[in-house]
Amino acid sequence: MKTRVTRAFSSVAALTAAGLVLTACGSSGDGGSEQTGPASFEGRGPITYVAAKDTTGTVQPVIDRWNKLHPDEKVTFIQLPTDADSQRQQMIQNAETKSDAYTVLSLDVVWTSEFAAHRWIDRLPEKEFPLQKMLKPVMETAKYRDGLYAVPASSDGGMLYYRSDLLKKAGVAGPPKTWAELKDACAKVRKLPEGKGMSCYAGQFQKYEGLTVNFAEAVHSAGGVVTDANGTPDVDTPAARKGLDFLTGSFRDGTIAKEAITYQEEDSRQAFQSGRLIFLRNWPYVYSLAQKSKVAGKFEVAPLPGLNGPGASSLGGHNLALSSFAKNKATALDFMKFFTSEQIAKHFLQDASLAPPYARLYDDPALVKQYPYLPVLKQSVLRAVPRPRVVQYGDVTSAIQREAYAALNGGKSSAQALTDLQKDLQKVMGR
């Protein structure tokens, strides 16, 4: 209770300072228009860090290191189930009950806006974090309406895995930069005896979050957008249609195998590893696993191709945020600074192969030696376009999955799907 009063007080102060006038709808109790400026971060003592279960065994030692340095401000690691929906559900439940059980939350990059708009997380002071050292698209995922509500802890970007051995044999000079080049390369590889019966390309097209990722990549790679710079839906455009047409056309002409409509990350990885696939769009995690498989030494990575040149990846990764209902926020802020520092990010890259938000680490020769894909990943992340950053992300991604799936499944033309999607998005976002 005390923290809430303090916060309300400080926010009113911030509001007055900003010279805003308070007239909006919410006149009752908590007030619907209360502007949460950077709250005061008071209180020191034990806190919790809430994230998906970690079996790499890298998180607890880092927390232990913190706990050793701060014996009176110990951090307890609360581990949530591995699937993202359960994590989000648990965090929302915690917020709905205004419980102080969770202090620092590890949020998927697409949740920032929703959590910020519901005031489940506090606005953070930008100057406290070395944001300028971070890759810009990654840092953008931590913002809501120009305010910083989270701090990037890790990132992720899609890459094109390709069978370098087959491409070389077929006389293809290098990895394709455009979709047309990709199809050409496939045609050549399939003429080889080894290439008989292979599928050309796959991503993740099952009806789940992965489809949103792949759809957004296709649209962005063709120069389209899902939502424009102001966050307004603008997906019913010729460019977006070219992007979706690449996917639907590929399904029709066999560039993408029919079964890929059931693929999630693991299914597509398996198809690539078992040698059934020439090109695969997937995350960096595949790299080390594929090195241990049948295709070890026979593949390389490249940035995603696009319509007229290199494509644009969607962004993955996690940001740290501070629960509004937590206690000991001063400790929490310090811990967030510690946990998202470059040093710790390097440690997570080395030991858990988590892509860091810090630009410099991608060029570190020792790290590049350990992870040869780092330069490609940096390109991927730098050119990346975040998935729509909207409050109603759950509804937006549902609508995208529904329409994109209908288009891929042949149930709708791409033009119709995009027209419907535009309408759905407008309705969802109320504009």
Binding site: C25, G26, G29, Q35, A116, K207, T262, S398
Partner: protein
């Protein structure tokens, strides 16, 4: 068990009321009515004592949240203030709009989920009943290997639903064992009728043993001499099944089927894990409610939950009517029939003991 004694002792009554109901004396209609009145007055207090702990616990764990959900269902989703960018902290009161919406805006999705739920329930429970009864009959007859069969039959049912969902997802993977065995590639987890089939197969596998076990329990109550008598009368196996076995296992079977129906109507984990969320072909009412709740629209989510609740309640009421005579024993002729069977059982017990 100590707590039983108190209500029991306080409720000691002159045995006249119950003694009058002793076996062998078919009660006269008039006497019965009078006795019923007395029994109600006397045993009412005792019944209240015996039943109230259960009702108390249930009202704490269910009634409170249910009423909360009912109230919640009258509120709409919180609005976003475009100026501040914040969601308002109060939910607007919308009355019955969340319910009315099933005939309007949200209608397509709701009715699709409604029919999916109904379809799954009817098909899976019908299949489970047939398979379960067959299992029970086989287990009942089998003399050797009984232990093995009983161990086997328990396994599907004991596997946690989430794990079973994962297992079947891998079996039905596009390159999984199911397609391997079938020799063709069916995309089970994509939208379409095959997804329904996948859910039904997995659900029936898991829950047919539930019915099987309860029916087996019912079967064992039927004495061998009943069959002997039937055979002497020249009844064939099929007639025996229809006229002796089935009527006698009816209460156990109906309770099993009832609980299966209630569970099937609330089916969630299996289609969610096996085929995936937001799939038109397999979305059930529970999945719809969960989807709304996960998008922080607790109002519509609660409304769907309430509607599902009413639907399930209707089914339950139908069963109570069907079962009433066997279970409650207060319905005229049915009550007598129940009692008469009690006598038959009693006699047989004496014979076998």
């Amino acid at each position: 068990m100590a707590d039983i004694r108190t209500p029991a002792r306080t409720a000691v009554r002159p045995p006249g009321g119950t003694a009058g109901r002793r076996a062998g004396r078919p009660p006269a209609p008039a006497g019965r009515r009078a006795r019923a009145a007395r029994a109600t007055a006397g045993s009412g207090r005792m019944a209240a004592l015996l039943v109230s702990p259960t009702l108390l616990v249930l009202s704490i764990v269910v009634l409170y949240p249910t009423i909360m959900a009912l109230a919640e269902s009258l509120y709409g989703p919180k609005g976003l203030d475009p100026r501040t960018g914040f969601i308002s902290s109060t939910e607007p009161f919308v009355g019955l709009r969340n319910y009315a919406d099933i005939f309007g805006e949200a209608g397509d999705r709701f009715w699709n989920a409604f029919w999916n739920t109904t379809f799954f329930t009817v098909v899976t429970v019908a299949l489970e009943t047939v398979i379960g009864v067959a299992m029970a009959l086989i287990m009942h007859r089998a003399l050797r290997g009984r232990a093995l069969v009983r161990a086997a039959i328990l396994i599907p049912w004991a596997v946690p639903t989430a794990i079973s969902g994962l297992l079947w997802r891998w079996i039905f993977n596009s390159n999984g064992i199911a397609n391997d065995l079938l020799g063709r590639q069916i995309l089970w987890t994509s939208e379409g009728f095959q997804a329904k089939v996948a859910v039904i197969v997995a659900e029936v596998w898991k829950t047919a043993p539930f019915i099987g076990l309860l029916v087996l329990a019912g079967l064992q109550v039927i004495g061998k001499e009943v069959y002997e008598a039937a055979r002497l009368d020249g009844a064939g196996p099929l007639r025996q099944f229809w006229h002796i076995t089935l009527p006698l296992v009816k209460p156990a079977l109906l309770v099993a089927v009832l609980f299966r129906c209630l569970d099937a109507l609330r089916m969630f984990d299996l289609p969610y894990i096996l085929v995936g969320a937001q799939k038109h072909s397999v979305e059930t009412l529970s999945m719809l409610a969960q989807h709304e709740a996960s998008n922080v629209r607790f109002g519509p989510a609660s409304a769907y939950a309430v509607l599902l609740f009413l639907y399930v309640l209707l089914i339950a009421l139908a069963f109570v009517r069907l079962l009433g005579t066997d279970l409650v024993g207060d319905g005229g002729a049915g009550g007598r029939r129940g009692r008469r069977r009690g006598i038959a059982l009693f006699r047989r017990t004496e014979v076998t003991a």
